[in-house]
Symmetry: C2
Subunit: 199 residues, 2 copies
C-alpha cells in the first residue's frame, strides 16, 4: 500500500539526526507532490554536497583548496591559537562573534558516554603533530569550545589532559553560557562575552 | 565562510514543512560528513520519488498503473463509498484499521483560513463527475475524514455542502477521536471505533 519509493526514502531519511520515520513519511509524500522541478532541485542540492571535503588541518566540512578550508588557508588567522569544537555549526556561531582570529579543530559528535572516539583521538593526534612540527612543540593557546553540558565537560577534561603539555595556555569558554545549553543556540553577545571571559 | 553547497542545500531543505534553516544547516553538514555512498543513496532515494504520480481518481501520491493507484484499481474496494481525507498519511492510518473497504479522495493540505483552495475545488469537482458518470449520480456513502480541528470542522462543512446532493449518506468520523488531535497520531483502536461510530 505504501509505494516502495516512499519506503526507500523513509529508510534513508529517518537515518538522519532528529528526523523520525513519521516525519520522514510525511516529507516523502510532500516532496513527491511537489513535482519534477522541485524534486530535481532537491536531488541536485544533495548531489552538490559531494563536492565538499574535510579540511586536512581542522577537519571541518568545507570547499577545500589544496586540502585546506578558507579559515586554515587564511594567512591572517593565528595558527598558534586553536579552538577545539564539536561541529561545523559551532564554528559558524563563533565566527559570527568576530572575536576569534585563530583556527579550529573539529572533533566530531561527542559521544554521550564521555569517552573520546577513535576518530576524535586521530584528530587530536593530528593536532599534536601540527603543534610539534609547525609550532615548535608549543601552541600559544588552546580554547576548548565544547558545549557546557555534562558530557561536554567530561570530554573537555579528556581533551585538556591530552593537549596540556603542548600549549602555553589552555582555556574554556567563559561560563557566560547557560549551563546545559548549546553553543549553537547562544546569541552573539553571550557567545562574545564567553570568548572575552575565557579562563 | 559557509560553503555555497551548504547554502544551496539549506535553501532547498528549509522549504520543506517542519524543517527550519537551523536544522537544515545541521543536516547539510551531517550529510556531507557521511561520505559518497551515503550521499548518493540519499540522492537516489529522492530521485526515485519522480516515479510517483497522483492517482487520477483519488489524487493520492502513488505508483500508478494506467493512471490508478492500487486502492482505486482494486476491484474488491467499494467505489460507491468514498472517504475524503487531507493527506496520504491519513490514508495509511485508516488502512491500518482494516475497517474501510471503500475508496478515497485526497483533498490536499487544508488552509488554516477554512476556505477550499482552487486545487481542492478541482478535486471535489472530479469526484462529483465520477459520481455522476460512474455511480448514476448517487454515492452510497461519503465519509468526511478530516482532522477534528477548528478549521478541519469548517472545511468539513464546506465539503459536506458540496457533496450532500450526490450521496445517500454523508458522515464524519465518530468523535472517538480526541478533539484538537490529528488522525495521523491516533492509535488503530481509537480510529477503528471512530469508523464504527460514524454518523
Amino acid at each position: 500500500m505504501i509505494p516502495e519509493e516512499i519506503r526507500a526514502f523513509v529508510a534513508q531519511v529517518s537515518k538522519l539526526p532528529s528526523i523520525g520515520p513519521r516525519q520522514a513519511t510525511r516529507l516523502a509524500f510532500y516532496i513527491a507532490q511537489q513535482g519534477k522541478a522541485a524534486i530535481t532541485d532537491l536531488r541536485d542540492a544533495i548531489d552538490r554536497l559531494l563536492e565538499l571535503k574535510n579540511c586536512e588541518q581542522c577537519f571541518r566540512i568545507s570547499k577545500t583548496i589544496n586540502g585546506l578550508c578558507d579559515i586554515c588557508a587564511n594567512p591572517s588567522r593565528n595558527q598558534g591559537i586553536i579552538a577545539v569544537v564539536e561541529k561545523e555549526t559551532d564554528i559558524l556561531s563563533l565566527e559570527n562573534t568576530r572575536k576569534f582570529t585563530g583556527r579550529y579543530l573539529v572533533l566530531g559528535e561527542l559521544s554521550k558516554d564521555a569517552v573520546l572516539t577513535g576518530l576524535q583521538k586521530l584528530r587530536l593526534n593530528h593536532l599534536k603533530s601540527f603543534i610539534q612540527q609547525r609550532l615548535a612543540g608549543m601552541a600559544t593557546e588552546i580554547i576548548i569550545a565544547l558545549n557546557p553540558t555534562t558530557y561536554g565537560d567530561l570530554d573537555a577534561s579528556l581533551v585538556a589532559e591530552e593537549l596540556k603539555p603542548l600549549t602555553k595556555k589552555i582555556s574554556r569558554l567563559g561560563r557566560g553560557l547557560p549551563t546545559g545549553g548549546e553553543i549553537e543556540f547562544a546569541d552573539d553577545e553571550t557567545l562574545g562575552s564567553a570568548l572575552d571571559q575565557r579562563k
